[in-house]
């Protein structure tokens, strides 16, 4: 805990509205967004704040997400602190522009209210939208509750805009499960946010007095080098992310880590989750511990850059790691998170066995009991050999 904790105001608020206030307190100067369920309340409220003069920002209404992110790129190129938010089909419609934003190194901050991709049409939560955008070259963080959504939205600007980072950043929050619940959370004061997050100082901006070319084409002789510079910046952003999170911990007392752990000491079996599912898993793991089962929980807060070392450290003493994915890579190895986790652990000499359970697709509820059931099934799989590459938990038939 900090010796000088920030003055905090406790509020009860819908998480989407809290995110829009975080964007307001971060003094975003430029916003372009298209409303899509379940992200709508965030941009609706931001639009109200701008219209009421409570936030000094340019708010561009656009006809699609493709245009929303394109407009954000233009505004970020002009040197403005830029924000947008989307979900599911909206993120998919941005797809080509996502790569352009990161390749051109614009520190745009975006909230993704995670939602299943059509078809069939579903407005409910899973992670198939963001997992289809794994390779976009953005920093990607997952939050577990409303407080974290507020905290990470403000921190995302500071991380993204660091002169050695300059990368767009996504804060993932589970649609409806987080976006539409009312939570008690703490806001720090505007003075504290201002001290934490100084104005954005772009290295290059569109300025007729000092013209530069942005987004030029690259010959085969140089494309690889520019791509590698981006890769290195994204990998190295890890250290800057930790520094910003530490600074926030000193300010607020809330400490975040790339791989969060819960009751992992002496655990033989670990669950791995992401996002809001982590809090459900915590309940289940507490119950298992009460029954004397050596079970713990790790959650991936940071998805890009992937926290290789922190994950290896967190799971190295376990015998079994049960990776719970909330997306299915059809025709592939199952869940994208499990694929990457297994890849991360493969070079280790001593490592836990892994099994993959895909759960909670398209808003299917995952109660704590599901984790008890998964534990029993996973242990059977270990004894009798895995039944397949993955298990789509709860599928009938």
């Amino acid at each position: 805990m900090s010796a000088h904790p920030a003055k905090a105001q406790r509020v009860g608020m819908e998480v989407s509205i809290a995110v829009s206030h975080a964007v307001q307190m971060a003094r975003a100067e430029a916003i372009a967004a298209y409303p899509i369920t379940p992200q709508t309340h965030i941009v609706e409220h931001l639009s109200t704040l701008v219209a009421n003069g409570e936030l000094e920002a340019e708010f561009i209404n656009v006809e699609s997400e493709h245009s929303a992110l394109s407009a954000c790129i233009g505004m970020s190129a002009a040197g403005a602190r830029t924000y947008t938010a989307t979900s599911a089909q909206g993120l998919a419609l941005m797809h080509e522009i996502l790569f352009i934003a990161s390749g051109m190194r614009f520190p745009i901050v975006m909230t993704v209210a995670n939602r299943a991709l059509s078809a069939p049409l579903s407005i409910w939560n899973d992670h198939s939208d963001i997992m289809a955008a794994r390779d976009i070259g953005w920093i990607q963080v997952f939050v577990e509750n409303g407080q974290e959504a507020y905290d990470h939205t403000i921190m995302a600007f500071k991380i993204a805009e660091h002169p050695e980072v300059l990368l767009p950043t996504i804060v993932n929050l589970d649609g409806f499960i987080l976006s539409h619940v009312v939570e008690a959370l703490e806001f720090i004061s505007q003075e504290d946010v201002d001290a934490f997050l100084p104005p954005y100082q772009p290295k290059y901006r569109l300025d007729p007095k000092k013209p530069v070319t942005m987004g030029a084409f690259a010959m085969p002789e140089i494309y690889t080098e520019v791509k590698y510079a981006h890769q290195v910046a994204l990998t190295n952003s890890y250290h800057h992310i930790l520094k910003v999170w530490d600074e926030w911990a000193n300010l607020t007392g809330r400490r975040y880590r790339p791989v969060e752990t819960y009751l992992t000491e002496d655990a033989k079996v670990l669950f791995l989750t992401m996002g809001s599912l982590t809090e459900v898993a915590e309940v289940a793991v507490e119950e298992m511990r009460a029954q004397g089962l050596p079970v713990g929980l790790v959650s991936l807060r940071l998805w890009r850059p992937f926290p290789f070392d922190a994950l290896r450290e967190a799971v190295k003493d376990a015998e079994l790691l049960i990776v719970c994915d909330r997306a299915l890579s059809a025709g592939g190895p199952g869940g994208p998170v499990h694929s990457e986790v297994r890849n991360c652990l493969y070079p280790l000499e001593s490592k836990p066995a892994t099994v993959n359970y895909i759960i909670g697709l398209g808003g299917r509820d995952v109660p704590p009991e599901a984790f008890h059931d998964i534990l029993a099934r996973a242990q059977k799989e270990v004894e009798s050999g895995p039944s397949g590459e993955f298990f789509l938990y709860g599928v009938r038939g």
Binding site: G103, M104, R105, F106, L166, K203, Y204, P211, V212, T213, M214, G215, A216, A218, M219, E221, I222, T224, E225, V226, Y228, A229, V232, A233
Partner: protein
């Protein structure tokens, strides 16, 4: 012509600008569009009326004016599109295949 400190093929990833930003103008000159030409224009000066239409329509632009007001192409940038030959008002430009 503004030159980079190093040719592109010797530039390391550390020497690239963030986001591939180009801080100097005129870098497109580094791109020798003439490299991939499969044919090139040849002028028959005796039929040329020195109107300059070919010079106007070349998209690169790779046509240079010579002493006396006649025209020729710059082999570094002529990509062999044939627009000059098609638009020449007297038909005095013919396209000739590159030698292997």
């Amino acid at each position: 012509m503004i030159k980079y400190t190093k040719p592109l093929e010797q530039t390391t990833w550390r020497e690239t600008e963030v986001g591939g930003v180009l801080t100097v103008p005129g870098t497109a000159r580094e791109y020798r569009t003439g490299d991939w030409r499969s044919q090139h224009p040849v002028w028959t000066k005796s039929r040329c009326i020195r109107c300059g239409v070919c010079w106007t329509v070349c998209p690169e632009p790779a046509i240079v004016e010579e002493p006396g007001g006649y025209f020729d192409m710059d082999p570094n940038y002529c990509k062999g599109c044939g627009i000059c030959a098609r638009e020449c008002v007297t038909g005095c430009i013919s396209m000739v295949p590159e030698e292997e």
